[in-house]
Structures are given as structure tokens and as C-alpha cells.
């Protein structure tokens, strides 16, 4: 960056208030309560519920990644399932064929997906809005078929997929595999969450949000548009890849049919339900995509899709800004209670 840009960026930072904390993270008390809940709940539930909670965290990470892209830099993506698939396959192949420790597969999957996402970000620069959404959608549709290609079959297992061995708890800890994997995922999720909040609060994050709000104004301010746009794509893809890798380890199986564009739509849905641009909402969005289909199925087996639609419609109608709106409402209510 040239000196001029540097100065511009600096004055920009000084002149404009940093984005309010509330817009990206929860208050300290609420955060602590959430964290304690996430730490304690698994001790009292069945292994099956722990598994569901692990999936909740994993989808939460993937939704968060999309949130950085859409909520942060204002770019749409319906192709997150492709990055998720690459991450999952990278982990599965490394563990099963390369005999790599599962912990190490996460950063590797992340780096591979970052590279793929960054490269995909370049052609994406020429597209915006719905066109970008369509281009990424194509990526999501193509991915399952690419994974089935005979050329890759020695590694991917073709349509048969790959079975992944579930890791035991290390150091002889007397906890079940499910519980260990839950806490492992929780740690990864926390690291990614904190890093993401910090990223969006940093100069890079402000640059991304400036692009989101007004691209021309941002470029006039000296923000390197193409750099930050592709960077956002790369970071988002990288985090999605880590989620995919965790997903492969938790589910113990990868197959092309696991990563259809329906997954991409689900992640998109999770982001909208959680609140676009509000990172803690990712967890609420993930809860929606993990549990609501089960609720809908519980209401009626034949019409589960229709009931899912009704529930989704209710959410959008009642809280159009997603979980964020609910959180703000709850906070004002608390304040009122305290005052009275």
C-alpha cells in the first residue's frame, strides 16, 4: 500500500467510530452465560444429544464463515457446500489414506479451502449480487459430481465415499468419544469465533464493511477492493473447510451425496435466521437448520417439508432480522425489568 492510502485509511479509522460492539458480539455477561451453558450441558445429556450439539457447533462455524462473507463484505455465496465438501474430503483422505492425526487435518483443510476460495474469489470479482450467487451456486451443484469422477476415485472412494475413524479421547481421559469430540469442536469454534470478531473489528474488517456499504465510496477512500473481496472469500472458504473437516470426523463418513447444494441453501438459511452480519446469531441459525427439520418431521412425516416452510415463514415474518432482533428485544426487556 502506498503512503497516501495508509494515511487515508488511518484518518478514516479516527474519523469514524469503530462499529459498535453490539453489532458483532454479545455483551460480556451474555457471552459468559452462553459459554458456561455450552460447557455444562453435555455432562447431563445422552451421547446422541452430544452428537447433535457437536453438529450444531460445526454448522455454526460454517454459518459464521458465510456471515463473514455476506455480513462482512456484502458478497453472496450459495456455494459454501463446495468448500465444506473440500474440507471434509481433505480431512477424510488425510486421516484414512495419509494416516495424519485428525487435529492436524483441520489447519490443512483450512489452508486448502482458503486457497481454493481465494482463487475462486478472482473471477467472482467481476460478478456482483445475484450473478455472484448464481456463479457460486454452480460451484455447489458441480461439486458432488466432481467428487464422483473416476480420476479421483483411488482417494475419494467415488460414490461409495470414505469411512473415517472416530478419534478416542487423548491422555486416557475417561470420557466418551462423542464428548471428547464435542469439547474439541467447542475449542475450535471458540477460537474461530474470537478470531472472526477480531477480524471484523480490525482495519481489514472495516475495509470489508466499507465495501459492503458502498463500493465506490470505499474505493475512493483507498480501500483495495479486489484484495479485500478475494480475501473475504478466502477466509470464508477456509473457515468453512475447517467446519467440513470437523463434520467428516464427527459423522465418520464422507460421500458426494452429503454435500449437495441443499447444504449450501441450509447454510444460507442459517445465516438469515441467525441475523445477517451478527456473528453470535450463527449458532442460533445452526440450531434452526439442525433441529427445526426434526421438529417438522415430528409434526407430520408426509408433510415435513411443508411444516418446515411454515416455521421458516413464521420466523421471517415475526423476526425479519433473525436471532439478532430477538436478542435486542430480550436485552431491552431486561433493562426495563431492572429499572422497574
Amino acid at each position: 500500500m502506498s503512503t497516501i492510502q495508509e494515511t487515508v485509511a488511518k484518518t478514516d479509522a479516527a474519523a469514524v467510530d469503530a462499529p459498535p460492539k453490539k453489532s458483532m458480539a454479545l455483551g460480556r455477561t451474555t457471552s459468559l452465560v452462553m459459554l458456561v451453558a455450552l460447557l455444562i450441558v453435555p455432562l447431563f445429556v445422552k451421547n446422541f444429544v452430544i452428537f447433535q450439539l457437536t453438529m450444531l457447533l460445526i454448522y455454526g462455524i460454517a454459518v459464521l464463515a458465510l456471515n463473514i462473507l455476506t455480513g462482512g463484505s456484502g458478497q453472496f455465496s450459495l456455494g459454501q457446500s463446495a468448500f465444506y465438501a473440500i474440507g471434509a474430503y481433505a480431512a477424510a483422505i488425510l486421516i484414512e489414506i495419509g494416516n495424519v492425526n485428525y487435529v492436524l487435518t483441520l489447519p490443512i483443510a483450512g489452508i486448502i479451502c482458503f486457497a481454493v476460495g481465494f482463487l475462486f474469489g478472482f473471477p467472482a470479482l467481476r460478478l456482483s449480487g445475484v450473478y455472484l450467487a448464481l456463479a457460486t451456486f454452480a460451484l455447489a451443484v458441480a461439486m458432488p459430481q466432481l467428487l464422483k469422477l473416476g480420476v479421483f476415485e483411488p482417494w475419494t472412494g467415488g460414490v461409495q465415499g470414505l469411512v473415517v475413524t472416530k478419534p478416542d479421547a487423548p491422555f486416557g481421559l475417561p470420557i466418551s468419544q462423542d464428548m471428547w469430540l464435542y469439547y474439541f469442536t467447542l475449542v475450535v469454534a471458540l477460537v474461530i469465533y474470537i478470531a472472526s470478531v477480531n477480524l471484523l473489528r480490525s482495519r481489514s474488517g472495516r475495509a470489508m464493511m466499507a465495501i459492503r456499504d458502498n463500493e465506490i465510496a470505499a474505493s475512493a477512500m483507498g480501500v483495495d477492493i479486489s484484495m479485500y473481496k478475494t480475501l473475504a472469500f478466502g477466509v470464508s472458504a477456509g473457515i468453512t473447510g475447517v467446519a467440513g473437516a470437523l463434520g467428516a470426523i464427527a459423522v465418520q463418513f464422507v460421500a458426494p451425496d452429503s454435500y449437495t447444494f441443499q447444504l449450501a441453501i441450509a447454510l444460507f438459511l442459517g445465516m438469515v435466521v441467525g441475523g445477517v452480519g451478527w456473528l453470535p446469531g450463527s449458532l442460533a441459525g445452526a440450531a434452526f437448520i439442525v433441529f427445526v427439520p426434526n421438529i417438522a418431521e415430528g409434526i407430520s412425516k408426509g408433510l415435513s417439508g411443508a411444516f418446515f416452510g411454515v416455521l421458516l415463514f413464521l420466523v421471517i415474518y415475526l423476526v425479519p432480522h433473525g436471532a439478532r432482533q430477538g436478542a435486542i428485544y430480550a436485552e431491552t426487556l431486561l433493562h426495563k425489568l431492572r429499572r422497574s
Binding site: 446422541f48 452428537f51 461409495q160 469411512v163 460421500a255 451425496d257 452429503s258
Partner: protein, 409 residues
């Protein structure tokens, strides 16, 4: 005075012993694992009711109808079947979640009739580790017949490999020495078939002049057909899915070429393959079947079909009875009922597997006459017989004997 208490103690002890002995023998017959009680047997199932493969959802509906009827008629040995069927939308991660829900939350005795090769692959390791029976899968992959490594998993459909072998037997008998050309889909499905026919041909496999493969992603397979015709084979074999099967028959017809044609059972549907290919092009095509086709008029007065129709009329009046998936679900559920009946009051998971692995010549109303279900501790492939059929004037005509092929364990 001391005599009395002593006597009492002795009497009580004797009485207790006697009681213990009798109660023991009374309980000896009834043994339960999770999911079975005096009044109920819980069975878990996963089928795609939604998503890309939702057309197969009727398999689950047909199974549910059979169990409902069994319950209405008093259940199995006095126990009602609680059939818990979940939707996985044909997505393996969802299958894993639902399977874990069935085993750990609903605590079913066994899982039955889970549909799809990827779905079953995803839960095979888990169920075997948990020692929960994974019985009668709605998939034709050969790998389910592996009692040594997966003693808790058993398929049901005749495997693609067995079917391939049966075509080999037919060719060696009726068309010996002819040049054979094979078109197969380049995935596990097509390759399973190919492996079967090659093994079946044995040292005659040299009569295969070409093994042509196509990708599922190709829009049309016309070029493959033209390429194969150039080699001038006498027999064309199609291990294809329905869309490509129809394309192949049509193209061969358009070329004015009349080889002996064999098409996989998967693509033998009158409605989705023969009709689009054109009945005149499909004339004389050969395939194999194991179940009755509900749309075939020859079974109009058949007792099995009448039972099938009365079941649908009472429990599933809304479905299209010619959908072959219904017949599959119906036949599979009846197999399950037979196994549960044989298990008697010993409803442990181990005994269920033992009974499932010792079915002897079981006849099911929806299977072709003469096709019997048999298993053994080393043979986990319940159906390994088929009958040849020829497409003639708009419908399939069965011919020849039942051909059996046990690939063994």
C-alpha cells in the same frame, strides 16, 4: 425349642430355592435386549421421504402398512410392532444422525430396511460397533454380504453381482460362443454388474469384445453405441440406469441393428424405459426379475397380488399401486415379520441375527413363484435367484427356470 426355627429356616430356604428354580425356568424363554418387551418390539427405519430420492419414500410407507396390518391382527407372538421410520433426505450425515437417534434415543431392537448404498455405508460401522442388527437393506450392492467383517449387516435385494452372473449363465447356455459387448455405468453400480458377468463367464470371458463405460454426467450415450456397433458384436448388454437404458435401446433400434440385447433389472421398467425407447425397439429385449410386477396382467388372479392389493386398499389407498418400490417394501417387511416370528420370545439382538442368518426356503407372496429366500451364517444374501424374462408385445414374459447364484460369504 431350637428345632422349630431350624426347621423354619430349612423350609424357607427350600421354598426359596424351589421358587428360584421355577421362576428361573419361567424366565428362561423370555429374553430381551433394548427395544423389546412383553408387549412391544421397536424397529427403526430410515428412508428418504424428502429430497432428491423422495420417490423411494413409498418403500417406507409400504413397510409401515405391513406392520400396521400385523398389529391389527394381534401382533407377533402377542407383541405389537412399533415401527419408527425417519427421513434422511438421502443425505448420509442425516442418516448417521437418525441412526444414532434410533439406537440411543428411541432404543430400537434393530434397524430394518434402510434405503440407499451411501446411507447404509455411513452407518454400517456404527451399527456393527454397537452390535445392533442392520437388516434387509434396500440396496443391491454386493458388499452387504460380508458376515466375517460385518456380522450385524445383511442386505436383501439380489445383488447386482449375482444378477450379472445370472446373465452369464444364460448367455453360455443359450448363446454360446457369441461376441459380447457390454455398456456399463462407470460407478460402483455398473462395476458390480460387470464383475458379476465376468466371474460368471469364467474362462469364456474372452468372448467379451468390448467393455464400454459411460459417465452418469454424459447427456447421451449415442456415440458409445455407434462405437460398439463398429466391433460387430452379437450380444449387447446394458448395465445402465433407466435413462441411459432407454437411450441405448432407442439408438440400436434407429440404427436398424438387431443384436441380442440384455438390460439390467434396474432398467427393466416398462413405464420408464421400454415405453420411452419405443415398444418396437424394445421387442425381444431380455432381462431378469425376482418380484412380481403389479402392472403385469398375468398376476391378476394371483393370491399374492390379491393380498398386496388388499393391503394397499386398506392402509395406503392414496398410492399408485404400479410403483415397483411398493412391492419392494411389502416383500421386505414380510421377510422381517417372518424373522421376528422365528425369534419367538428370545428377542435379543444376537438371536435376531441368528434367525436372520438361518432362513430356509422362505416364500413371500410378492416374489415370483419358485423364488425363495435363504440365508446361512456364511451367506448374508437373502435373495440370489432370478428368472429370465423377455419383452414381448408391450410387456415382460417370464421364461425358463429360476436361475440361482449364491456368491457365498
Amino acid at each position: 425349642m431350637f428345632a422349630l426355627p431350624r426347621l423354619t429356616v430349612a423350609t424357607v430356604a427350600a421354598a426359596t430355592l424351589a421358587l428360584a428354580a421355577t421362576s428361573n425356568s419361567a424366565f428362561a424363554q423370555k429374553k430381551y435386549d433394548a427395544g423389546a418387551t412383553d408387549t412391544e418390539i421397536k424397529i427403526g427405519n430410515i428412508v428418504p421421504y424428502s429430497g432428491p430420492a423422495s420417490a423411494y419414500g413409498v418403500v417406507g410407507k409400504a413397510m409401515g402398512a405391513v406392520f400396521q396390518r400385523v398389529n391389527d391382527q394381534g401382533g407377533i407372538n402377542g407383541r405389537k410392532i412399533n415401527f419408527i421410520s425417519y427421513d434422511d433426505a438421502y443425505s448420509p450425515p442425516k442418516t448417521v444422525e437418525q441412526a444414532r437417534k434410533l439406537v440411543e434415543s428411541d432404543e430400537v431392537l434393530l434397524t430394518f430396511g434402510v434405503l440407499g448404498t451411501p446411507s447404509n455405508s455411513a452407518i454400517q460401522k456404527y451399527l456393527n460397533a454397537k452390535k445392533v442388527p442392520q437388516l434387509f437393506l434396500a440396496t443391491g450392492a454386493t458388499k452387504w454380504n460380508d458376515p466375517k467383517h460385518f456380522p450385524w449387516t445383511m442386505g436383501w435385494l439380489p445383488s447386482y453381482q449375482s444378477e450379472g452372473k445370472i446373465y452369464a449363465k444364460y448367455l453360455m447356455k443359450d448363446h454360446p460362443g457369441k461376441k459380447i459387448a457390454i455398456l456399463y455405468q462407470n460407478d460402483d453400480f455398473g462395476k458390480d454388474y460387470l464383475k458379476g458377468i465376468k466371474e460368471g463367464l469364467g474362462d469364456k470371458a474372452s468372448s467379451i469384445v468390448v467393455e464400454e463405460s459411460y459417465e452418469l454426467s454424459e447427456p447421451t450415450i449415442d456415440t458409445h453405441i455407434v462405437k460398439m456397433k463398429a466391433l460387430n458384436p452379437d450380444v449387447m448388454v446394458y448395465f445402465t440406469t433407466p435413462k441411459f437404458g432407454a437411450q441405448a435401446l432407442k439408438k440400436v433400434g434407429e440404427l436398424g441393428w438387431k443384436p441380442v440385447q440384455i438390460i439390467a433389472n434396474v432398467s427393466a421398467s416398462t413405464a420408464s424405459v421400454m415405453k420411452p425407447a419405443g415398444f418396437e425397439n424394445a421387442q425381444g429385449v431380455i432381462s431378469a426379475a425376482y418380484a412380481k410386477d403389479a402392472s403385469d396382467p398375468q398376476w391378476k388372479d394371483d393370491a399374492g397380488l390379491k393380498d398386496f392389493d388388499s393391503l394397499l386398499a386398506k392402509y395406503l389407498p392414496e398410492v399408485n399401486r404400479t410403483d415397483s418400490s411398493l412391492m419392494t417394501g411389502y416383500n421386505m417387511a414380510l421377510t422381517m415379520v417372518a424373522v421376528l416370528k422365528n425369534a419367538g420370545d428370545d428377542l435379543t439382538r444376537a438371536n435376531i441375527m441368528k434367525q436372520a442368518a438361518s432362513i430356509k426356503d422362505l416364500e413371500i407372496p410378492g416374489l415370483l413363484p419358485g423364488i425363495k429366500i435363504s440365508t446361512s451364517p456364511t451367506d448374508f444374501a437373502p435373495i440370489s435367484q432370478l428368472q429370465m424374462m423377455r419383452f414381448d408385445n408391450g410387456r415382460w414374459q417370464l421364461f425358463g427356470d429360476i436361475i440361482s447364484d449364491d456368491i457365498g460369504g
